[in-house]
């Protein structure tokens, strides 16, 4: 009989107690999905995603002691990651932020059409879509990560989907014309 895997909070406590391997174990659970969310936030830019995730780990290492246990470690990690992504996006010059809209640059990015459509959405709607449709994410955790009530999340998700469809419909018509 294999023993139960340690809880995230236990891993964090072990890391804070000096066990560096515990952080590796925590990373094995979440680093890949964190990279996915960050990649979506940065319109498919893997380098920017890596930077954001590394910054997130750095924050975990430095401020892990401030984790109060009011939420799960997973929620905490994603919250930090989103904050890092927002800060990085805000610090980018406007030209660089819009550079991915150039179709020529988008050839290397998978599903560039979707990313272009997401780019046209307001930031809070884009975040709701990316977080909620991230594999393995529940609406409850997404609401906690985004810091909004569950009801607000659902209504915002609905309107974001409507807007995204409208944008994609318009772009399809433009392509046909």
């Amino acid at each position: 009989m294999t023993p139960d895997p340690p809880q995230d909070a236990d891993l964090l406590q072990r890391f804070l107690a000096g066990d560096r391997g515990a952080l590796g174990e925590l990373a094995a659970r979440y680093e890949r999905s964190m990279l996915g969310v960050a990649c979506g936030m940065f319109r498919g830019d893997p380098d920017a995603a890596r930077d954001a995730v590394q910054s997130t780990w750095l924050r975990v290492i430095r401020y892990g002691r401030t984790f109060k246990g009011k939420s799960s470690v997973k929620t905490w990690l994603y919250t930090i990651l989103l904050n890092e992504c927002r800060a990085a996006l805000a610090s980018l010059p406007a030209q660089l932020r819009l550079a991915t809209r150039n179709p020529a640059d988008q050839r290397a990015v998978p599903d560039a059409e979707l990313h272009l459509a997401l780019d046209l959405l307001p930031q809070r709607e884009r975040e709701v879509l990316l977080v909620c449709y991230h594999p393995g994410m529940t609406h409850a955790i997404a609401a906690e990560v985004l810091g909004i009530p569950l009801g607000t999340l659902k209504s915002r998700l609905h309107s974001a989907l409507e807007d995204l469809r409208a944008i994609m419909r318009t772009s399809e018509h433009e392509v046909v014309r």
Partner: protein
Amino acid sequence: MSGTPPDQLAERLARATAWTGDTPGLWAKALEADSKDRRARTIPDAATRLWRRPWARAAMFVLAGSILALVAASLAPPRPRVGGSASVASPPAQYEYSVNEQWRADQEGTSRAADRLARVPVEMSAAIAPSAAPASPPTPPPDAREPFPTDRVVIRKASIDLESKDVRAVAAKASLLVNEATGEYIESSTVTGGGGEGPARIPLNASLTLRVRSERLSDVLNRLRDLGAVTAENLDGQDVTTEAVDLDARLRNEQRVETELLELLGARTNAPLKDVLELREQIAKVREQIELLSARRDRLSHLASLATILVIVREPLATPDQPRPAALGGHLGESLDRAWTDGSRALVDSLAWLLRVLIAGAVWWIVVAVAATWAYRAARRNAQRQAAPTPSAPAPPPPIPSAHDPAP
């Protein structure tokens, strides 16, 4: 959605947030970056943490203030003891005459003289151009300078209180100590009291101010001590060497200017009347200044050459009659009165002591108050932390009912 079915859109969104590459192990890189960064910011962090504590800030301010005070005290030049009181047994400390002071005095005088000469009309000053040395470099060759004064100029003052039954005789003997042939004299002599009879008699007092040569001061004081019982004695010495040197230098320079102006006046007999009058006016001013300085210098020399002794002779106080023992009631009243006075004085004394302690240690009280406040807050924080339940701690299990417990 016409072109994109809902399930297809969800799939595309899920793909957009999925990581297809390998996991680069960013946590390890973050650990490495943190350890590098931590090494770089250990000392500044410790300093910042320390600075956040109020007691540490207060201690640093006190330390900085003390260091500043020490530095200021060490940088301040030592002041010579001038005009201070000297004990009878030990003579005043030797005043170290400074070479720099002599130069400063000379140069100040020279610059003042140069100013005067600058006001002389241009035509006339041209005539004495070679001799207008004061306006040019003020330092004469070392061999041309006058030797530094080696004697101190000290004004000595002494006072002595004597007690004697025969006040008049003591006063007369004291006045005989003055040797008028050598310039000494009695500056003032006063005898008061002596009137009345019995208990209403006013005690006789005599007061003499003697001016004796400085070198005879000790001798005269010794003789005065033999004339009666000494009740008080004081000796003061005021060192005026610096002032004397300054006066000498200024006097020399004024005399030099006067000589040059007179030479100028003699050389230019055919100068315009206006210039001659102006020159004479300058000479008069210089002469006036010379007289003033000479008078001050003479007075200083006079004061220094003759010491002043104030002699006060008093009759000894009559011994009061022994009071008769008071009655019991009177004794009680006296005792209560004494107790009241003593108690009030003790209260006032203790209040004064308290005030002294408060004022003298004001700085340290502030430090102690800050430290106590910090300690109190820290203790309270600890107490609150211990009192608050830990959210993550599981609730204690309910007690297992014992077989002996009665059924609820």
